[in-house]
């Protein structure tokens, strides 16, 4: 317990085991946060409660909400937003940004390879199972050259800060990563509520995402198209990310379409406008692979466009991200990321991967068996968190059971050190005070032909339940404005 003069932090309890982003081990405010700490300290808790309410209603009136389906009726909810921003100093951002680009580029080369010559598998660097047992590997993409050579135009890289103060990547989301609109909304909301604090820091703007996205999408236009007609395709307004889809279309100044607005004729894609059909060249799709074309993939999909894949394969339309990209955002692929980066780029990984021990390798198996209490054991072929054992929560008996299981079929298991997410002071409604909460950071990278862009900012997600490490919004997570400081 640290006693602070600052009244809104007066009851802040610091758990010394956790990595607190604003207080150091001695309980002193870190330099980069000191101005912010003082500025917030000028407010009383009552002021703060008021500001918090205002911010909430601003989200509500702007319709930045998602729907929850209850038995009786549908309810609209806002994503909880915390008014205390997270700061990323320039030297740390440099690592994150260059690391995110490095990963996106490596993943793109990986995707090209596994849909063409498959050299990385033939040379034994990654196992064949990465494609043969992946539900997201599309045979239809074999030997297809996506326009501009790009598969993962848009990636969302989830990064955490561990107790060692270093950044680690937890996941690369390259299917339809969402959340970028909240980065911008959070900034707007914080400006509306506490514009004064911005005067004291030089923070990068986050509003340039859409223009960069549009620029990059135009670099991957199909051959022979001069000025491409770009659209965003959404599953529809009942999708929980619909706000984001409409936001992106609006800020890029392009049409937001649904599957039923498009049709394919002679392998070209058209949209149905009040002036008749108009050709579409680049589609930023927010629909999963399985649903994009009922004639090629799931026949029961009413979200997609019949014949779209044939048009794509012919090179008449660009899909971003490319179909089949999802194969690379697998847990199994993640564990090989350092090898993948070295193989294609001949560089050392800039961002840390959480180290993965493959029990199939005898040396690593030995380490795992001797250190179970410090490791998370995961089966390689299960998704959705099934069959995971967290070492420090197991009894001695249970450890023996897990050991026996691993020994029975070592190939089936991998192990990772137990990672702890850093904590950030977060205002908690219930206690009307700031408390430590775990945070992560989702960054947004856009890859075009010979061009790339990382949004200078990101979505800091907060696990609002005490001690909880799961930051997803579906699990009651909130978010914070994230400031990347200029040098």
């Amino acid at each position: 317990m640290v006693n602070l003069e600052n009244q809104i932090f007066s009851s802040y309890q610091r758990n010394p085991v956790l990595f607190d982003e604003i207080f150091d081990e001695r309980g002193q405010v870190k330099e980069v946060y000191s101005k912010l700490f003082n500025l917030y300290g000028e407010h009383s808790i009552n002021d703060y409660v008021n500001l918090n309410e205002k911010a909430k209603s601003s989200f509500f009136n702007q319709g930045i909400t998602f729907q929850v389906y209850d038995k009786k009726k549908t309810q609209e909810k806002i994503f909880p937003f915390d008014l205390f921003p997270r700061i990323i100093p320039p030297e740390e951002w440099k690592i994150i940004e260059s690391g995110a680009i490095q990963r996106s580029r490596a993943l793109n080369l990986f995707l090209w390879d596994i849909y063409h010559d498959k050299k990385i598998i033939k040379q034994g660097i990654v196992p064949m199972e990465l494609i043969s047992s992946s539900a997201n590997y599309l045979d239809q993409m074999n030997n297809v050259d996506p326009p501009g050579g790009i598969y993962n135009h848009i990636s969302g890289t989830d990064v955490i800060k561990h107790t060692d103060g270093q950044y680690y990547v937890l996941e690369d989301n390259i299917r339809c990563p969402s959340g970028v609109s909240y980065v911008i909304c959070n900034r707007t909301a914080l400006k509306r509520a506490l514009f004064g604090v911005f005067n004291h820091y030089k923070t990068y703007s986050v509003t340039n995402y859409a223009e960069n996205l549009l620029d990059l999408l135009e670099t991957v236009k199909p051959k022979g198209v001069d000025v491409p007609n770009v659209v965003v395709i959404t599953p529809g307004m009942f999708n929980s990310a619909f706000y984001e889809h409409s936001y992106l279309a609006k800020t890029m100044g392009v049409e937001l379409v649904e599957g039923r607005d498009l049709f394919v004729e002679n392998d070209f894609v058209y949209m149905k406008t009040i002036q008749g059909p108009q050709k579409v060249d680049v589609i930023y799709r927010r629909i999963d692979d399985a649903f994009i074309d009922p004639l090629e993939f799931r026949p029961d999909s009413s979200l997609g466009v019949p014949g779209l894949f044939a048009a794509y394969k012919k090179g008449n339309v660009t899909l971003a991200n490319a179909p089949g990209t999802g194969v690379a955002d697998d847990k199994a692929v993640y564990t090989y990321m350092p090898e993948i980066i070295r193989y294609y780029l001949n560089e050392e990984p800039i961002l840390n991967n959480v180290h993965t021990y493959h029990c199939s390798r005898p040396k690593e198996l030995k380490y795992v068996l001797n250190n179970i209490e410090n490791l998370v054991i995961k089966p390689v072929d299960e998704a959705g968190g099934y069959g995971i054992s967290i070492g420090n929560r197991l009894s001695k008996k249970e450890i023996e059971v897990v050991k026996a299981q691993i020994l029975l079929s070592p190939r089936k298991y991998v192990a990772q050190p137990i990672m702890s997410l850093s904590v950030h002071p977060t205002y908690i409604d219930k206690s009307e005070s700031f408390e430590q909460r775990h945070v992560d950071l989702r960054t947004f990278t856009v890859l075009g032909k010979d061009k790339e862009f990382v949004l200078k900012g990101g979505l800091t997600r907060v696990a609002l339940k005490r001690g909880n490490l799961i930051v997803n919004s579906s699990q009651g997570g909130g978010s914070k404005d994230t400031w990347v400081l200029k040098t």
């Binding site: 009136n61 706000y243 409409s246 609006k250 039923r260 149905k272």
Partner: protein, 315 residues
């Protein structure tokens, strides 16, 4: 603009306009009946029936005793009644939602606020003693929306589609109000001269369409059936008249269809033809057969809407 989205914008315009007319009709009729000169006009049952007729739910059975709270709730806040005000506002918001990337943030935020206001309104308070407050807010928020449409959107195709919807709906609602009040006037006749012609209901009709003050300035006489109908149907300068709405529709269809000589099968051609019919209509024709003028107007407006659907919204 996508055909589907154009359709949604068209209906957004219609729903915004519709809620306002219903709300105003409720308020004006209810409150002017309180001190109406004629006993029948004062009767609560008479007023409730008139409200139901206006929204298209005429109660034929004269012996049925209507419950005031039930009727007000049904028209205002009943989520299970498709034509209620709350459902109109919900529909306008849903239509706005799907065209969110095309309309201004300001307009969207106002529609959204409107919706949250209505959906949070306490139904009990409303049907007991909130009628005035509720309906006044609905009309005022609708006016704000109209202002946002005019001042925060480019006056291009998107605007034209919304204005087409709003004006077709306005003309439709005005003619329905005329129909309901014409019905009332047949029943609650005046006390002197031509009793139908001088019914108190003509004054209420003008108030229901927010045209009473304008009309008084224009004619400087107590309204009767002829002057009222002439004003509300044929006067191009009255912003609530059928003529005025048709002029607006005509103006905006030209943004969507810029052909100088529109093809015979186009919406522009149909709109021009119908507009001309009203431009050269005289009140004597209307006076002779009010009911068929009402019916024909409704059917013409329906035809325009259908034609738009064919030409622009379906592919």
């Amino acid at each position: 603009m996508l055909a589907r989205v154009a359709n949604n914008l068209f209906w957004m315009g219609r729903y915004i306009e519709r809620s306002e007319h219903i709300a105003r009709y409720l308020r004006v009729n209810y409150f002017s009946s309180l001190d109406a000169p004629n006993q029948l006009s004062q009767s609560r049952q008479f007023v409730l029936r008139s409200m139901l007729t206006m929204i298209g739910e005429t109660v034929e059975d004269e012996s049925l005793i209507l419950n005031e709270e039930d009727v007000l709730y049904k028209i205002g806040l009943d989520p299970n009644y498709t034509s209620s005000i709350i459902n109109n506002v919900r529909s306008s918001r849903e239509n706005a939602n799907s065209a969110r990337d095309l309309i201004s943030t300001e307009l969207y935020e106002s529609i959204n606020k409107f919706y949250h206001f209505i959906s949070n309104y306490d139904a009990k308070v409303y049907s007991k003693n909130g009628l005035h407050d509720f309906t006044l807010n609905v009309t005022e928020m609708s006016a704000i929306l109209r202002g946002k449409v005019r001042s925060t959107l480019m006056h291009d195709e998107i605007y034209a589609i919304i204005m087409m919807g709003a004006n077709i709906e306005r003309a439709t609602q005005i003619i329905r109000i005329i129909n309901a009040k014409h019905n009332d006037a047949l029943k609650a006749q005046g006390s002197y001269g031509d009793k139908f012609k001088n019914s108190f209901e003509w004054t209420t009709l003008l108030k229901c369409t927010e045209s009473y003050d304008m009309m008084r300035r224009f004619y400087k006489k107590t309204p009767n059936s002829i002057s009222t109908l002439e004003f509300l149907i044929l006067n191009p300068d009255c912003p609530r008249s059928i003529m005025n709405s048709l002029n607006q529709v005509c103006k905006h269809i030209k943004i969507l269809d810029s052909n100088k000589k529109p093809s015979r099968n186009s919406t522009a051609f149909l709109v021009g033809k119908i507009r001309a019919e009203y431009e050269f209509k005289c009140i004597v024709q209307i006076e002779n057969d009010i009911q068929s003028v009402i019916d024909n107007t409704l059917s013409s407006l329906y035809q325009i809407s259908q034609k738009m659907e064919e030409e622009f919204f379906s592919y």
